[in-house]
């Protein structure tokens, strides 16, 4: 970072809009692309605000070293890494604790979605590379990884969609960007199997009253529903031509052709 960042005085303007012009409950522009790599079994690219992230999936495949293999299900392993140039201050190429932590958090967020029991003794490896980071990389990574899993043909209970909510200048806001993450009052990343109503990721830093928490939780769910829709659109675009086969396997594959919205 050659020049120092100015700390913003306010995160929400007098017009009720955020510094990047968004409304409080508005998502950043999101772009999903599925099947972007030639060697991986599945892959997806996401642009979410200025975040640029690639996720790729290999597996189910034989697992090395073998003693890690689970007898009754596949082992899901996610690896979250940041490119050295993805952030303002150059990141050391050595793996950081934060990367190890987020890798595990993302694994936990994806795990409930996968029928791991179908593939005992194998591994499913999810590799995530942050090309450029702009706040909310863990949620954007989950969104990309979820699409890459579907692209690899891994049987899923549902897509996992993720989004952060938080607080800035006393207001509950959706999908925090970098500045809001750093200078806001609370940040709460969430992930859900949206149609099932299952929360697979929930973390929070900052300060919320219980009322604020409940409001944030609700707003998060709304944001997730929109992202979920975008994910399905991206898959549909890719699989338009093979819709029929997929529909037949709908029990174990993501049902991308039906518009079911059965939430609690």
């Amino acid at each position: 970072m050659l020049f120092e960042e100015k700390i913003p005085e306010k995160l929400i303007g007098s017009d009720g809009l955020r510094l990047d012009g968004r409304k409080l409950d508005e998502l950043r522009p999101i772009k999903f692309e599925v099947g972007v790599l030639s060697q991986a079994d599945g892959s997806a690219y996401v642009e979410h605000g200025k975040n640029k992230i690639i996720a790729a999936v290999y597996g189910p495949r034989e697992l090395h070293p073998k003693h890690l293999a689970l007898q009754d299900r596949a082992l899901l392993r996610c690896l979250y890494r940041m490119a050295t140039f993805s952030v303002s201050e150059r990141k050391s190429p050595a793996p950081s604790r934060r990367e190890a932590e987020l890798s595990m958090i993302i694994t936990q967020a994806l795990q409930p979605a996968i029928f791991l029991e179908y593939y005992p003794r194998t591994s499913i490896d999810v590799y995530i590379e942050i090309i450029e980071a702009d706040g909310g990389t863990r949620c954007a990574s989950i969104n990309a990884a979820s699409l890459a899993l579907a692209d690899a043909g891994i049987p899923l209970r549902d897509l996992v969609a993720a989004c952060a909510v938080g607080k800035a200048d006393g207001q509950i806001i959706l999908d925090l960007n970098d500045l809001e993450d750093k200078y806001g009052e609370a940040d709460m990343p969430m992930a859900m199997l949206y149609r099932r109503g299952d929360v697979t990721l929930l973390q929070m830093d900052g300060q919320f009253t219980i009322e604020e928490f409940n409001k944030a939780l609700e707003l998060g769910k709304t944001g997730i529903s929109k992202i979920y829709q975008l994910q399905r659109d991206a898959l549909r675009n890719k699989y338009l031509s093979i819709r029929d086969e997929v529909a037949d396997e709908s029990e174990v594959k993501v049902e991308i052709t039906k518009e079911v919205e059965e939430n609690e």
């Binding site: 604790r97 190890a100 932590e101 595990m104 936990q108 795990q111 409930p112 709460m188 859900m192 199997l193 109503g197 299952d198 929360v199 697979t200 990721l201 929930l202 973390q203 929070m204 830093d205 900052g206 300060q207 919320f208 009253t209 219980i210 928490f213 409940n214 939780l217 769910k221 609690e264």
Partner: protein
């Protein structure tokens, strides 16, 4: 002697759930009841602050060492608090020696986030010369005996050790910092912090799971509150999901249970 702890029979799980369904747990506690808590401070004379917490059979020691050093460039007028955790291999049969694994990192991070966002410590008061010299606090958690719920025990121990911490007065001349002997004083703490862990077992939520309950639980959520009842940190853990409504219930239950922690902490703070 040692048994294979990782494999848990369905039988054990069913026994625990059957009991919970009747409102009780294997050790006789009600669903929202903590095990006995014992907090001691000042147990390591070479540490600048220290505490030991026993939560049932779970035993955690926290020691604080201080150094003078440079602040982070982006917070030049704030001291630094560095929190680490070790799950000692003596504490549980499956804990292994080696660099901190995810569980240890998560433990340190959750305690750190609770302390950080509760604003208990005014980091600015740890600054001596802005941009040059600040107090650096190394807060190290050692889990000696792991019978479940390390988050809550470690949070209490860290807080008690910080309360026990003594710093000397300083005399600043230009950029020289002289420490004044025999002037050791505690640092001012604003209020307290309670981390409360709720486990999900089948369709039930229970407080303060022990290691047998952790083995069979479906999920876990830890919520840290400050004394005003504000949530300062949340961490959902484990490989399973919570239903949307269970999250809301867990927050309420955690809030209620935080009273017990605050009352125990009051005895030493």
């Amino acid at each position: 002697m040692s048994e294979v702890y990782k494999i848990v029979s369905e039988i054990e799980r069913n026994q625990i759930i059957a009991k919970i369904a009747k409102g009780k747990r294997l050790d006789g506690r009600s669903l929202d009841e903590y095990r006995p808590i014992k907090i001691e401070t000042g147990i390591v004379s070479k540490a600048d602050g220290s505490a030991k917490v026993e939560l049932g059979d779970t035993k955690v020691i926290v020691g604080v060492k201080v150094e003078l050093g440079a602040p982070f460039p982006d917070t030049p007028d704030e001291g630094v608090i560095t929190l680490g955790a070790e799950l000692l291999p003596m504490a549980f049969p499956t804990f292994e020696p080696g660099p901190p694994n995810f569980d240890a990192i998560e433990l340190a991070r959750v305690v750190d986030r609770g302390i950080r966002h509760s604003d208990i410590i005014d980091r600015k008061q740890l600054c001596i010369i802005p941009g040059k010299k600040v107090w650096i606090l190394f807060v190290d958690i050692y889990v000696l005996d792991s019978d479940g719920n390390l988050f809550d025990a470690s949070s209490m121990a860290a807080l008690a050790a910080l309360k026990n911490l003594r710093l000397p007065d300083v005399k600043v001349t230009g950029e020289d910092v002289e420490l004044i002997k025999d002037s050791m004083k505690p640092i001012p703490l604003k209020g307290k912090l309670a981390a409360v862990t709720i486990a999900k077992v089948g369709d039930y939520l229970i407080v303060d799971p022990d290691s047998s309950e952790e083995r069979i639980m479906d999920g876990r959520i830890t919520v840290a509150f400050n004394e005003e009842g504000k949530i300062c940190a949340i961490q959902k853990g484990g490989e399973s999901s919570f239903r949307y409504q269970e999250i809301q219930k867990a927050i309420i239950l955690a809030n209620k249970s935080s009273e017990k922690i605050f009352s125990e902490l009051s005895k030493v703070m």
